[in-house]
């Protein structure tokens, strides 16, 4: 970050700290109600200023060749409630790309959905549009104000050897793409980063329909989307990918009391893009190769403690190779040390299964472990800063990878 940017950030922090009441009034001023109180519209937003210090090549879904990366983001939210039956949500962003990168500025509508609640309770709701997946329990805290960390858990950003735009010719291709060492060494380049897919790409704002509801202590959600959980953001728009090969996902949740929340999720859908069709075996289509996923999630909260965990077993059906399985999980805890200071720790692992290579079986990815440590401070109800350090260890590398990050978030 340049000195003038840093001074600007400090000045902003000072103003926000001194005038917290001003932001209360701004928040009120951005709430519109009609005279009959049928319609209520709230405009709000987040300004994120984040900077990273990275080892190269950068890990996960960070796209830069530099050691330092400054990644600002403006997110504008519109929540509109028409009676208790209709709810509209829009999230628009201006940033350097959906994931942190050194590209130029771009503006996107990341989420827009309409939810219809036919009854006077929340037993059933219908939702249509472009929205975050119902799978797992990370989505409700993925925005920077709620997320104790700057980044996502490993399984939402660690790149595997699966490509969506081309099918491998053989196991050697898959292992090379997965950066698995073989007798010729291994690929540790950055160039193929744009081709590889994670197990789940971020909150997966794909387009589709969902049915959700809560009955007593049980929650349910089912969705049909135009793209698989691993698909890249470019394919989440309905204009980019239609519903010829839909992905079906769902989650069932149980809350025995306010402290605990348990969930099981499942998802299945083709992960290859239309560009991959030419590289498929004869008479096969992209719809024949799916990403199948099973998940379990737990959340616990009590006084100043919060704890979350997700466990996923995923299977990619890979042309010419068969099933490529991954097991990934993370355990995350947050504790408020003082009213304004919190600390968080997260342990992540992604473990790869074997694929058949002739007569033997070989592991098709590098087992990866990562520890994330974060400390955050809320100056006011509208200004927060977080510092994070992550250490990643991937099997063939003797030395681990370090990432440090700083994020300042202004909420309005």
């Amino acid at each position: 970050m340049r000195p003038n940017k840093f001074i600007l950030v400090l000045a902003l922090a000072f103003v926000c700290n001194a005038r917290a009441d001003l932001f209360d009034r701004v928040n009120d001023a951005l709430l519109f109600r009609d005279a009959k109180l049928q319609l209520q519209v709230q405009l709000s937003g987040l300004v994120d200023l984040e900077t990273y210090y990275l080892d190269q090549p950068p890990p996960g879904l960070i796209f830069t060749g530099n050691q330092w990366l400054f990644n600002p983001r403006l997110s504008i939210f519109l929540d509109a409630q028409w009676t208790r039956h209709i709810y509209l949500f829009v999230q628009a962003r201006v940033d350097r790309g959906f994931d942190p990168s050194d590209e130029g500025a771009e503006a996107r509508a990341d989420e827009y959905f309409l939810r219809y609640t036919p009854l006077d309770n929340s037993r059933i709701n219908f939702q249509i549009g472009k929205f975050a997946t119902v799978v797992g329990n990370w989505v409700p805290r993925h925005l920077s104000w709620e997320n104790p960390f700057i980044n996502a858990p490993l399984l939402y950003e660690n790149l595997t050897g699966i490509w969506d735009e081309e099918a491998p010719e053989d196991v050697d291709d898959l292992l090379y793409w997965a950066h698995v060492p073989n007798e010729y060494g291994y690929n540790n380049g950055y160039i193929d980063k744009y081709y590889r897919l994670p197990m789940i790409w971020g909150p997966s704002y794909a387009t589709g329909l969902a049915v959700t509801g809560t009955i007593d202590r049980f929650d349910y959600a089912a969705e049909i989307k135009n793209a698989s959980l691993s698909s890249r953001p470019e394919y989440w728009d309905a204009t980019e990918r239609g519903f010829e090969h839909p992905t079906f996902s769902g989650r069932a949740g149980f809350r025995p009391n306010e402290m605990w929340n348990f969930g099981v999720s499942a998802s299945g859908g083709p992960y290859l893009s239309a560009e991959a069709a030419e590289s498929l075996p004869l008479n096969r289509s992209i719809g024949d190769y799916r990403e199948l996923l099973l998940g379990q999630d737990i959340a616990f909260a009590w006084h100043h403690w919060q704890f979350w965990a997700e466990f996923y077993e995923a299977r990619f059906q890979v042309p010419r190779i068969g099933n490529a399985d991954i097991f990934a999980y993370y355990l995350e805890a947050k504790y408020k040390i003082t009213p304004q200071l919190f600390a968080a720790v997260r342990w992540n692992q992604e473990l790869f299964g074997d694929v058949r290579d002739g007569t033997e079986r070989v592991q098709w990815g590098n087992d990866t472990s990562r520890v994330d440590l974060a400390v955050g401070y809320r100056f006011t109800n509208y200004l927060q800063t977080k510092v994070q350090y992550s250490f990643t260890h991937q099997d063939p590398h003797e030395e681990g990878q370090h990432v440090a990050g700083l994020q300042i978030t202004l909420k309005f």
């Binding site: 929540d79 709810y87 009590w302 009213p339």
Partner: protein, 215 residues
Amino acid sequence: MKARVLLCFASLAAISFVRADATIEGLVTLPPPQMGRTLSARYQTTVEAPLTPSNPPSAVVYLEGNFTGAEATAKAPAQMSQKNMLFSPDLVAVRVGGVVEFPNLDDTYHNVFSYSKTKRFDLGRFRKGEKPSTIVFDKPGVVTVHCEIHDRMRGIILVLETPYFTKTDTAGRYRLEHLPAGHYDLKAWINEADVRSVPVDLKDGGTVHVDLPRK
């Protein structure tokens, strides 16, 4: 003999302070009540958007002056509960050193906190039925209280140096009794941008009628 005279004077002084028998009553013009609808949660299956009335409007009326001799009366803790996703009441007044309880009456978690300079605290996640946390407010000022989970919940705790304060009813009527005679400022706190003030002269045994209309 000297000691008796001193004791006599001291007693008279104490009696004159205890004999605080003036009364002020009147009407504070309050802002109109507001209705609000809780917005649906963006990423949850629970969709609750009932039309709920906000707390009825009210104001805190207090007498400002030098009351250092006035004893602090031990009072039961004030309460600011969480009910129907609102703080109820959303305006509470306490004297410096006063205690406020925050019971959760909803079937969901609340996380009450304040980052106000007057008092910073965070109760963490509390559920219905748990023994409510109490907070001692030891500095005068305005404390804005929020819920971390429910963004639009907002409450005010007014921490006053004076022992002479009351809350209006929902029509704005108030009555302050057992006040000491003297010259003071009578104030009505509606919100941080609307604090009304009127000078008053109080005499023992007298009742003064003071209205505090909108500015």
